[in-house]
Structures are given as structure tokens and as C-alpha cells.
Symmetry: C2
Subunit: 274 residues, 2 copies
């Protein structure tokens, strides 16, 4: 791991790192905020077009992480530096849009293993390099989808789950259909593994309450996010959730900055429980 | 004025605007955060390479402006859309580097009137469009220089002054020498008008205490910022100041985000005084 930059922020350090990933077979970057004496860690998964910088720069989260002694790690949203067919042609597939799946299609399956990258590389870095024993997961939009799916698929790895404006039912929305076709292929029977609503419908569960904030003026709410599908699935399978609809808020980091404290407190409650 | 974008943030709106300026004879942009029932306004002046977006995106200030009912307005750092000789050749002169002076050199004097743009256009917008009667001023680096200089030159316009990492003595540092030569010409006798240390030395004063935060690990401290020159000048002329040196902090927005609450409280004290 190479430390690229370090900036004192509140009572800790905002840092930018790179490392060679055996999973993606590329140089990967991530950012961290590390307070004094961190007592737990949260993985933040970013949305479409983002990289390792967006959240740590825009969310105003360091204040709360510093106060509550929790570290955050923010991975990039895809491998970089490749030139696969179609990889750089659109904002919602390929670079900047890994969707946190292990791709199975030609070309992509060798590098776009973002599920493994998070649950193996990033989890290993947190445990071995940063000595964190308890890890929670959260994210925004595509990264909210990632947090829900990886949290439900690996409940033993992640203490608690939360999301802002998540894509909760990707199998049936345009963003998800495009990404899953490209990464997983035309056979929709394989898609449920990366669809939070379908996972809940199939009995996947997490022991702790899942927190979601969703703006009512989010321009993607009805077409891409479909929050109520997840609420309905949780109700039917008794998965504990708290979905907070926030009047007038949109899909932006201004929305995230407004409610990020609630998410840090949510994870703190579970991370610090004995 | 055209409202380009509006994002609900805490109990207010983060907004992006454009307007045709008669001062710069260009289309100018600024951002605002407007809480419910604002009781005063602060102008934020940004540093080199910045535009109207940096502060409102990175500083985490909305939380405090929302709580304390103060609005902020963040102008761009130079005219845009021109193609003057040398205007786009370097990061520290021309576009993105207006230095808050009224230029007198050929070409630049017709558009680079950033002092007038702030004290006429922006002040007028605050008073007439946003109905703000009391206005304070703050900024970072080049914008910290701008806040000090404009606050000292127009103490009747600005209730209070603060700065992060300001260029306090531009006449004798590389950034200032380059900018002043380009905007004001070779005759250094004209430069003092835009040099906070020289203004203090010549008897310019502000009635209220000037607050400055400066990181000790700021990579520009000794070569460009020269904070102690300003402290010495204030001591000699009995200008009230509070300069806080902050151990380990650098020149970045991570530093600003850590101490921005102190600046909002500083200005609130004076803005709300009857």
C-alpha cells in the first residue's frame, strides 16, 4: 500500500492510498479518514461516475468520525487503466460504474470483480493493515445498492448496513438492466444475486436494522431507485428496516451531508456493541 | 440573475446563479447557501484555481449556516470566457486568479475589476436581491488576501473580517509580485492598496477583531503567506487580531472544514450585534 497524500482533518487524517489488487489485476485507489483511536470501521461505496474522492471531499463526514472515533474507507467504483470493449463509452457502465458485482462476461470477468474487491481486498486491508475487527457498510445510489447487496450476501462480514438513495431493485430498472446485461449476461436468472429486493425475497437477511435515507425530490426515484419495492420485500420477510423519506431533498451530496450524522450514529450503535 | 440549480441542504438551499456583470462585462457565476430566515450574510472569497463551487461543496459550512441563520455567497475568482493575452497560461494569473484588485494594465483593466465586482455587484446583490443589511467577509489564501484587503479598504461595507491561510503581504511574495505586476504594472508604489500588511502600516483599520487560522504544515506558509508580517503590522498599529496557528494542518479544504465553525461564530457575533 502506498500513502499518496495525508491531510490533518479535525482530530485525524484524511488520506489517499493506492495498491496493486490481485483481484482486479489493476492499481486501485481508496481514501480513508482515520481518527485518533478508531474503534470500528465503515466502508463507503460511491455511486455512478464517482471515484475514491467524492465522499471524503463532499460529505462533511470527518467531523462525526472524529467525534465518534470511527474510521471510514472509500474505494474507487471500478478498476481503472484498462481499455475493455465499451468500458469508457457511457457513464453508467464500465469505468466508474462497477456495480459491486463479480462480472462473468467476456473481458469483464478478468477485472471487474468488485464484489471480491470489497469483501476480500478492502476487508483484508481493514483487518490487517488498520487492525479493525468490526466493519459496517454504507453507500449512495449504485453504492447504496452495493452496501445492501454485499451486506445481505455477507452478513458475517458486515456489522450493519445503511444507504442513501440506493438502487434497490436493479433487475427491473434501466441502470441495473444495462449493467447486469453487460457484467452478468442476458440470463436474468443469475441477476437476483446482486439485487437487494430479490435477495430479501429469497430469504437473505441481516440481523441488524437497515437504515435508508431517500429524498422525495430525487430525480431518479421512480425510474431507477424504486425504494418501495425494498420496503415491501422487507415487510414480507420481516427484515428490520428504517426508510426515511426526506421532503424536498434530491440525489446530491448536499442531501448526503445533511443526514450523514444519522448514519454514523446508526453504525456506531452496532459497531460498539459488545 | 438566473438560478441555475437549487439543492435542499439542512434547513436551507444550496444554489448556483449566473448574472451579467456591468463591472466585468462578462457572465459571472456565484453560489449561495440560504438558510430559513437569514439574519446576515458572509461573502466567501476563494483561492487560486477555484471557482464558485469549491467552498460550498467542500467546506461543510451549510450545517453551521443553517443552525445560525446566516447566508453565504461565493463569487467566482475571476472573469471567464475572455481570451486576454496570457490569461490562461498559468494557474496564478488571469482566469481563476483575479486577486480581488481593479486591474490598471492594458487589456485587463476592462474586465479584471474584481474589487469593484465584490464591493459593488456582490454587495448590491446581497442588499437588493437577498435583502441582507449586514455583510461580513472571509476567504482562503488569495481569497483570504481579498477578505483582508477589501475589509480594510471598505470597513463601512463589511461588518467583520476573517481569513484562512491568507496571503498577507503580496507585494513581497512570488504570487503577489507576479499578479500585481500583471494587473497593476511595474510601479510598486501602487501596490500597497491591495496589500493587507501595507494597508495596516499606512493606518487602515477595522473596528472589529480580525480572525485568522493558519496551518503550521501549510506548504506555502514561509514563501507566500508570511503570516507574521501581518501580526507585526497589527501590533504596531493596534489593529485587533486573533491569529490561530494550527499544528499539523495544511493549506487544504480539510483544514478549512475543521475550523469553519469558528469563523461562522466569529462573524455571527458581529452580524447580530445591534
Amino acid at each position: 500500500m502506498n500513502l499518496l497524500k495525508s491531510h490533518k482533518t479535525f482530530n485525524g487524517q484524511t488520506q489517499f492510498w493506492s495498491h496493486e489488487s490481485e483481484t482486479t489485476k489493476t492499481l486501485m485507489k481508496f481514501s480513508t479518514f482515520i481518527p485518533e483511536n478508531p474503534m470500528g470501521a465503515i466502508i463507503w461505496l460511491s455511486g455512478l461516475t464517482c471515484n475514491e474522492e467524492n465522499f471524503i471531499t463532499k460529505a462533511g463526514v470527518q467531523r462525526f468520525l472524529s467525534d465518534h472515533q470511527i474510521m471510514v474507507i472509500c474505494p474507487d467504483t471500478s478498476p481503472r487503466g484498462l481499455n475493455l470493449p465499451g468500458e469508457h463509452d457511457s457513464y453508467d457502465f464500465g469505468s466508474g460504474a462497477g456495480f459491486y458485482v463479480n462480472a462473468t462476461t467476456d473481458g469483464y470477468r478478468d477485472h471487474y470483480k468488485m464484489e471480491d474487491y470489497i469483501v476480500k481486498d478492502i476487508v483484508s486491508i481493514l483487518k490487517n493493515e488498520f487492525k479493525m475487527s468490526k466493519i459496517s457498510i454504507m453507500g449512495h445510489s449504485m453504492g447504496g445498492h452495493g452496501a445492501l447487496v454485499l451486506g445481505l450476501r455477507h452478513p458475517h462480514l458486515f456489522t450493519s448496513i445503511s444507504a442513501f438513495s440506493p438502487i434497490v431493485h436493479p433487475s427491473v430498472c434501466p441502470w441495473g438492466e444495462k449493467a447486469f446485461t453487460g457484467y452478468l449476461g442476458e440470463d436474468k436468472n443469475t441477476w437476483y444475486k446482486y439485487d437487494a429486493t430479490e435477495l430479501i425475497n429469497r430469504g437473505f437477511k441481516h440481523a441488524n436494522k437497515i437504515l435508508i435515507h431517500q429524498g422525495t425530490h430525487d430525480e431518479f426515484l421512480t425510474r431507477e431507485l424504486m425504494t418501495t419495492d425494498f420496503i415491501d420485500a422487507c415487510a414480507a420477510s420481516e427484515q428490520s428496516e428504517q426508510v426515511v423519506f426526506c421532503d424536498e431533498y434530491d440525489h446530491s451530496y448536499y442531501f448526503i451531508s445533511t443526514f450523514i450524522e444519522d448514519h454514523i450514529l446508526h453504525h456506531k450503535k452496532y459497531l460498539l456493541k459488545k
